[in-house]
């Protein structure tokens, strides 16, 4: 081992390889999936609020399982296998599912109303996606920011409030998918 500047060059080479590894884009298929799920679910809250609960009860866990499957296959296609990383993502977003389930139980027990439940779920989404942006993939922070900004909007606006917030959240997911694809095309990962 040479204790001289070439050793530092070698470490710079290793760092560049690690930087390329860290810049892997978020799977576009998962972002598009959730843009669709959120787009439909939020609009449904304005046009058929009675069926929103059933929609999310099916779409959220199904979307979660489909995301796990897509994430695994995206990793394999990209040449990476990492159970620990997959588990980290699954536990992070599984926490959101669990928190929303607890909120639904609170509604059933009369803790707060069904219409308030939407704002609480949006708040939980905002926090979980913002933390995902901090700890997992930076692009997801925008989904969190727009979800959090949507909380006062759904409480204060009179008409089409969920459609408006849903459009912004879905657009944030599509932006995640688009920036990921562009980075891949540019050779980022």
């Amino acid at each position: 081992m040479n204790a001289n500047p070439p050793a530092l060059d070698d470490l710079s080479y290793v760092k560049r390889a690690l930087d390329r590894d860290r810049s892997a884009p978020f799977p576009a298929s998962i972002a598009v999936l959730w843009a669709g799920i959120c787009g439909v679910g939020f609009v449904l809250n304005d046009i058929a609020p009675a069926s929103t609960g059933l929609y999310w009860a099916i779409a959220a866990p199904a979307g979660f399982l489909l995301s796990c499957w897509l994430g695994y296959h995206n990793g394999r296609a990209g040449g990476e296998l990492d159970r620990r990383e997959g588990m980290r993502w699954a536990l992070h977003f599984g926490t959101l599912l669990l928190a929303v389930l607890v909120a639904a139980v609170a509604v059933a027990l009369g803790g707060f109303t069904g219409s308030q439940m939407g704002a609480v779920a949006l708040l939980l989404c905002g926090v979980v996606f913002l933390l995902a942006g901090v700890h997992l993939a930076r692009q997801l922070a925008w989904v969190g920011v727009l979800s959090l900004a949507g909380v006062p909007a759904v409480l204060l606006l009179d008409r089409w409030r969920w459609t408006l917030v849903g459009a912004f959240v879905a657009a944030a997911f599509l932006a995640v998918a688009f920036t990921g694809r562009r980075r891949t095309r540019d050779g980022g990962a």
Binding site: M1, N2, A3, A7, D9, D10, L11, Y13, V14, R16, A17, L18, R20, D21, R76, G78, G79, E80, L81, D82, R83, R84, E85, A189
Partner: protein, 108 residues
């Protein structure tokens, strides 16, 4: 006198490093493999920026030393080689990184 002692410490730390991991490509491969369960040959090529021949030669040396293992499979009728770090490879990397830290701490 103190400077000579420092030099001696740096030289001792350098000697404690792993000879095989002194090469930057092999060091980068081991660091990348330590972060994942397995990486494919093409992904390692993307991350290191090496040619097929160079990367293949370095991986072969790591395999021969028992630091890396390879599992080959077919995906869409194309062969895919998955590389992972062995226990011996992980221990060697940890020892080498500790030696590197001592070397860098001893640099002016």
């Amino acid at each position: 006198m103190a400077a000579r002692d420092d030099d001696r410490e740096v030289a001792a730390a350098a000697a404690a490093g792993d000879r095989l991991l002194e090469h930057r490509v092999r060091l980068a491969i081991c660091v990348l493999l330590a972060r994942r369960d397995a990486l494919s040959f093409s992904r390692l090529k993307q991350l290191t920026g090496e040619t097929d021949g160079s990367l293949g030669a370095h991986l072969k040396r790591l395999e021969d030393a028992g630091y890396a293992r390879v599992v080959k499979e077919f995906r869409d009728r194309k062969p895919v080689s998955w590389y992972s770090l062995t226990g011996a490879g992980r221990r060697a990397l940890e020892k080498h990184v500790r030696a590197l830290e001592r070397v860098l701490a001893g640099l002016p």
